[in-house]
Symmetry: C2
Subunit: 544 residues, 2 copies
């Protein structure tokens, strides 16, 4: 059996080695059009920033190792230009020579291609992607010349990580994002907190404005935005997304799905016999919605490659699907998401509630406890957890991974209440933020209490039938409060509640939602219409 | 409705406040025999060590707050001496006066009592528990006198945390544990690693030896162990476990379960009408085995209290059960567990496999990646995850929480393979250790490869039909290897495998199990009988 693999990064490299483990006798050849296989492309921004000092650290497996350990024939600088599924051959171009290679099984792992926006000047010297090791090498050489200003086009993972790392190198950095927010796979309020953190690091962030032109004749001198703004720059990082490299698969006749990604079944088989596909250019099942999505991330690419490799070699494995779990470090802040954001749940037509769960990384009486904020997206009738987002300076990764596991398992928020998570003061609280989130959401889903979101406050203030009630202390109020709110500290509520108008509805907030929750239940028992502003001031301010 | 709560720490305090939220009209009275309610007893060792500097940090809620915010009547220094379930009264002793108090609903949350070993001298001045705030106060006063040496009796959570914190105060500390290992809820190899860490911090650890006597007439001068060893000490910390305080419940006629804990149903009702119980003295359902267990931990106590309080007040909530998830920080090391250890699975008669998954806290090419080691207990036929243990210097808490969530959800190791966990270089690897563990375990459960454990090595070495084969490099071998093993580096295996004897079985190890896995599959394809020593040298050495 002759197994050919096209593409040698995450999915392709994993597919080839897994195929070898499943089938010792097969001939396995891997073709990579670039000069490197199996390099850590997620590490590139950190290499540029000097966080990762040794370039060799990024080279996970060398062609020699593939040969010696796995008996895999790795051919770098070899571009596959054609697939003939009838003849079961591919055409490989190495240098100026083209050669046909027969296959029994073919694994396409061509990954993605970073988008270059079609603007004037996009090809000017000084415009870079952060996608391959040679990209990083070019940027590093440039930086050694003493660059002063960079514009990063795109406010997604690669854009923000690159911006932060260039800033760490001392450059003036401006991020330009066409959408109204950065990190568009999270709800807008998380973007606000991330932008504040970027700005605190001295990075300028422009949202809702697109790139119109890159200026400079021989070398980049700056950019012009579509509102006319001009920004000076010595270099431009083009981080405007990654397009799936589906051309070869299409050429082979592989069906594309509605997402534009290559369609595969659970075994990572394409629609063409004996051709498998894995990685950034395939579409995957979203395990929450049951719909296909294309989410190009390293974790999925690795798993898909392993499954494609095993099956191409005669094994029987499956890849179930994705939740779109993702995480980013921005300065000292961590932001992460899994499943459906509120925006996504809305777009998919779910009947859902959102709640915020403000907690701490660990017991507050133990040193270095840091606030964090979770947002849960919950199916209203079933209580099923649809998605989660989190932000904070410590421990967010843990909570998102727990929540991703819960979503994978089809759990409800009632299950979250009962999770048995590890507690000791250095690691968590007796009520971990995830459990707390389960309790808060369960109270809402069970109908014990009505909830609203900080984003509802402007409308509530405008509504004459509603009063926004602050139940914190006078001291907290003095340090900042919602303009237009009324103060009645929770610990005076029992004595003074008769001051409130029973004809009004009260939207109650406090610091994190706990005092307001108690106040709401008291007022509800006294016959008032109440709702808890989920997450309190921490969510109102997105202060973590 | 009059709801009385006996006990004011985790379960009792939570029960009272939840009861209030569910029922604004009820009269709620909480009786606490000590002087403090709702204090952070998990923080006591850290207060003793000076990690938590401010004593007030440990006081989570004061009686005043209970009164003002929750309209709960808290009576401290009030010991309940009798329950009369027919008359529906309790008898409360405050000072020298006793009074009967009627109830409609009663919640017993009497918690536990630290065990005082019945040895000569156990009542000597200088013998302390670390259980209440006055305990900590007494220890702190003593420390101010300039103590030099402490003996800690018991190698569980409280014992080890106390030992570490007393050592941090500069004392010479000896831990004495009657069992052959510390942290008896984890498998022995984890104890070995923990003991090494304690010893590195300058703490002496004696296992397999019990306390025979505490010496000193007026004040403690030392201890005598049951092997005759004498250890000098100015103070003795008695941390030999916590016994459930079931006396009052028993007096009321509440049935005890086989574990000796108070029997409750899912609503936290005892066998006596209108009496609920929650906290350390009740037994809970083990969600893995379906059997009752008594695991006194703060997380469960909090959840149980909430459920008991809600239901006593007229609500309808349930508490499902526990996994025994627990975690401890020892020096720079974190050790954690959930579900069943190998020893527990063995004792329960499960047909199971164990595998080690050695991973890293985050991407190895990103700074500060720290090795960690997971051990999974897996039901052999179903692949169901029965339990997990972990040890390492960073990120162990996250992995144990993810695994606890997976066990709660009844997931298999095949599910772990497919989890969509958050990956960016500062937080994890593309294959998170949990996913890696799923892959390793799945390969074994699917029958792709046979596996053995480091603990099997002595028997394998003694077996003439088996060869222990090291497939690392000569350099690694020279730095240390299994005595009696044979070296054949994986990258020479394809050229040299004919040197191996096809009549023998090969137990193959490497650094963490990955090279050995590849070597095994190669040798298996060539007709050799092989097994992978799970976890490689990292598990053999427990080196994290």
């Amino acid at each position: 059996m002759r197994i050919l693999v096209i593409g040698g990064v995450a999915a392709g490299a994993g597919a080839a080695t897994k195929a070898r483990r499943v089938n010792e006798e097969a001939e396995i050849v891997l073709f990579e059009k670039g000069s490197y296989v199996s390099f850590a492309n997620c590490g590139l921004p950190y290499y540029i920033g000097g966080v990762i000092e040794d370039r060799d650290e990024l080279l996970l497996v060398t062609p020699e190792l593939f040969r010696e350990r796995f008996n895999i024939d790795v051919r770098i600088n070899s571009e596959v230009t054609k697939i003939d599924p009838k003849a079961k051959t591919i055409t490989v171009k190495t240098g100026s020579r083209s050669k046909r290679e027969p296959y029994d099984r073919l694994i396409i792992a061509t990954g993605g291609t970073p988008v270059t926006l079609p603007v004037k000047g996009a090809e000017t010297d000084g415009v870079y992607h952060v996608f391959t090791l040679p990209d990083a090498d070019r940027i590093m050489s440039r930086l050694e010349l003493g660059m002063k200003r960079a514009v990063v086009v795109g406010g997604g993972f690669i854009g923000l990580e690159s911006a932060e790392n260039l800033r760490a190198r001392g450059l003036e950095v401006t991020v330009v994002e066409k959408l109204p927010q950065v990190m568009s796979n999270m709800d807008g309020e998380f973007s606000d907190a991330i932008i504040r953190e970027l700005e605190a690091a001295g990075i300028r962030v422009l949202t809702g404005v697109g790139l119109a032109e890159i200026t400079g004749r021989k070398k980049v001198t700056g950019v012009v935005l579509d509102d006319g703004t001009q920004v000076k720059a010595d270099m431009v990082i083009m981080a405007a997304g990654v397009r799936g490299s589906t051309q070869l698969a299409e050429m082979a006749g592989c069906r594309l799905g509605a997402t534009g990604g290559v369609w595969v079944d659970a075994s990572m088989r394409t629609s063409v016999p004996d051709i498998y596909a894995a990685g950034d250019m395939v579409e995957s099942l979203n395990l929450v919605t049951g719909k296909k999505v294309r989410i190009p991330l390293a974790g999925s690419a690795n798993k898909q490659g392993r499954v494609a490799g095993a099956n191409a070699a005669g094994g029987h494995m499956t890849f179930k699907g994705v939740l779109g779990t993702a995480i980013i470090k921005v300065g000292g802040l961590t932001a992460a998401r899994t499943g459906l954001s509120a925006r996504e749940a809305e777009a998919q037509g779910y009947d859902f509630e959102c709640v915020y769960a403000p907690g701490f990384s660990n017991a507050t009486y133990y040193p270095d406890a840091m606030p964090l904020l979770l947002k849960l997206t919950v199916e209203r009738q079933s209580g099923r957890l649809l998605g989660a987002q989190g932000i904070g300076r410590k421990g967010v990764d843990k909570r998102i991974d727990v929540l991703a596991t819960a979503i994978y398992g089809g759990m409800t928020v009632f299950d979250l209440e009962d999770l048995d998570l590890a507690y000791a003061p250095p690691f968590s609280s007796a009520k971990d933020p995830v459990i707390l989130g389960g309790m808060i959401a369960s109270n809402v889903i069970r109908g014990e209490i009505d909830s609203c979101l900080p984003s509802d406050i402007p409308a509530l203030l405008a509504d004459k039938g509603t009063v926004v009630l602050d139940v914190r202390t006078q001291e907290e109020w003095d340090e900042g409060h919602v303009e237009g709110a009324v103060l009645l500290p929770v610990d005076e509520l029992r004595a003074r509640y008769a001051e409130l108008d029973p004809k009004k509805t009260y939207a109650v907030y406090c610091g994190v939602g706990y005092r307001a929750y108690n106040a709401c239940l008291f007022l509800k028992a006294k016959g008032y219409r109440v709702m808890n502003v989920s997450g309190g001031m921490r969510a109102i301010r997105m202060g973590v």
